[in-house]
């Protein structure tokens, strides 16, 4: 089990991003994390993968302090090193993770590996990043907006892969702005708001999740929009 206790993060004094974040994630499950833009989702994920040092709290995995090698993180931005081809990018992973079967994975994703990566489309870059994440055998996989910019067919493919990873015992934490994509695969969905985890939903509660989270703001916004768009 991955346990986050009283985690607090601030980038500068009086500029806290996360305060007293508590979350328990069952091993071998898929967990969703939702929140508005700027709510601190990516900062929380960065704390878990060690990219940012948090000021308070602790994170345990199976009763031990979380280690770097426990986590692999697919970042939301598709940044790649310039002037290298997809094949060269993967050769790096193949060389250091010999069990990674590049050719077999690429049969699924069908990427033009001999092209320079900067010529890839957004979706291709996302696939490329996902494939490199799959070369790691870390027990915790963090996927920040994995469905951004990919076509419907690839979304389905990714969902199957994520399901299989769950079956193999991996703990997966996913963020997405598209609630529907999380509802169909997640075992729990947590809502991050006001620097804290406000609530964690179970599958039985998914039907009302949107209503509960956004009912009030939707009503307020609707009134504002009504004032802006008047019937002719």
């Amino acid at each position: 089990m991955l346990v986050i206790k009283h985690l607090a993060l601030s980038y500068a004094p009086e500029k806290s991003v996360l305060e007293d974040v508590n979350l328990e994630l069952e091993q071998g499950n898929i967990h969703g994390l939702v929140g508005l833009n700027g709510s601190g989702k990516t900062s929380l994920l960065n704390c878990l993968c060690g990219g940012i040092a948090y000021q308070q709290g602790h994170v345990h995995f199976n009763n031990n302090l979380l280690k770097k090698e426990d986590v692999i993180f697919l970042e939301t931005n598709n940044y790649f090193y310039p002037n290298i081809t997809g094949r060269e990018y993967f050769r790096l992973f193949e060389a250091l993770q010999p069990s990674f079967a590049l050719a077999d994975w690429n049969d699924l994703f069908e990427l033009p590996l001999d092209e320079f990566i900067e010529n890839y489309s957004t979706g291709m870059k996302k696939k490329l990043a996902l494939m490199s994440v799959l070369s790691f055998s870390s027990p915790i996989m963090i996927l920040d907006e994995p469905f951004n910019g990919v076509d419907m067919e690839t979304v389905q493919l990714m969902k199957i892969i994520i399901g299989k990873l769950k079956a193999s015992g991996r703990t997966i934490l996913i963020t997405s702005h598209i609630l529907e994509s999380l509802v169909s695969i997640c075992d729990t969905i947590s809502y991050l708001n006001n620097k804290q985890i406000q609530r964690t939903f179970n599958p039985q509660e998914y039907a009302n999740i949107e209503l509960e989270l956004f009912d009030l703001t939707n009503k307020q916004n609707e009134e504002r929009i009504d004032r802006l768009i008047k019937p002719e």
């Binding site: 990219g51 302090l65 770097k68 940044y79 090193y81 290298i84 790096l92 001999d114």
Partner: protein, 322 residues
């Protein structure tokens, strides 16, 4: 009407360039500008001597540098779109302004023919419009380089034109003692230009090594590439000036320090997926120290200091519990 439009274009363009210059100067800061001036003066003195001693080489160097700028400039599409039909005229003016100090130096040195060639050469540069993707594709197959040497594949693909010219000119003109020496120094500077680009977190994670082993691996790849590319110039120098081997050794050591420093700077400030533009200045200052004898030990001290900093920063991205 046409005159009004031309005036408008000129004012808009000057505004953009002034804003850009202001921002760059603001980013650098007064103290750093003063330090740069102190370091830059000896370099300028060397350059000025070059104009008096070997004017053809100086003309070639200026034309080549500005041509390289034309081929690599990233605002070509912007100028073509928003300043049409004056884009080429803007290039002409910019390049002649950039070449003006060189032109004046040539005239002062009483080399009017060279000055004329410079003006003509600069006038032709705006018509250079080579598509780089085709050339770069020729460098696609670098499979003989190790899988982990991605920087050594990326860097030469970006600046192959400059590297090839330096290698050939340095080796061919080795009879002039300072040409291969300057060539080796410049080649080392060109080779580290891509060491300001930070790879993704995953490309670091995958190593799962200690920071020390990781840095040693990076040094080994970069130094091997630098030494291989400098080999023709080293051999040519020894053929013509074998008795001055110690100067060559010193320049090669400077090159090695510059390569290692660039790697240490990169990983000392490493942030996944960013370009560390500030490192250019830091590296420029370190390289500048070698031009003033009593400042030459500073880069060695910086190397030790930033090696420790790089190790410390890398601990966050390599395998340590947090």
């Amino acid at each position: 009407m046409k005159r009004n439009r031309l005036q408008h274009v000129a004012v808009s363009f000057l505004n953009i360039r002034l804003l850009q210059t202001g921002r760059i100067l603001n980013e650098i800061g007064i103290i750093r500008i003063l330090i740069l001036l102190v370091f830059g003066l000896p370099l300028l003195a060397i350059m000025a001597n070059l104009f008096f001693a070997v004017p053809w080489l100086a003309v070639g160097f200026v034309i080549f540098s500005i041509a390289s700028l034309q081929l690599h400039r990233k605002d070509r599409q912007f100028l073509k779109t928003y300043f049409s039909p004056y884009a080429k005229a803007i290039y002409h003016i910019e390049y002649q302004v950039l070449g003006l100090p060189a032109l004046l130096l040539l005239l002062v040195a009483k080399h009017p023919l060279h000055a004329g060639v410079l003006v003509v050469g600069l006038s032709l540069i705006p018509y250079l419009d080579i598509q780089f993707s085709g050339f770069r594709s020729g460098f696609r197959r670098l499979h003989f380089l190790p899988a982990t040497a991605f920087e050594q594949k990326s860097g030469p693909r970006e600046s192959y034109l400059m590297l090839l010219c330096l290698m050939f000119l340095g080796a061919l003109l080795a009879k002039l003692i300072y040409v291969p020496l300057i060539g080796i120094f410049l080649l080392n500077i060109v080779l580290v230009t891509n060491q300001i680009i930070c790879e993704t977190n995953l490309m670091i994670n995958v190593f799962s090594w200690s920071p020390r082993k990781f840095l040693m691996h990076k040094f080994q790849h970069q130094l091997t590439l630098a030494l291989v590319l400098c080999l023709p110039m080293n051999i040519s120098f020894l053929l013509f000036h074998g008795s001055h081997w110690y100067i060559l050794l010193a320049v090669n050591i400077i090159g090695i320090v510059i390569q290692c420093l660039a790697i240490c700077f990169k990983y000392a400030f490493y942030t996944p997926g960013t370009t560390l533009t500030g490192n250019k200045l830091l590296l420029g200052l370190a390289a500048g120290c070698f031009l003033i004898v009593f400042l030459a030990p500073i880069p060695f001290v910086m190397l030790v200091s930033y090696y420790i900093k790089a190790q410390k920063n890398l601990k966050r991205y390599l395998y340590v519990s947090h």
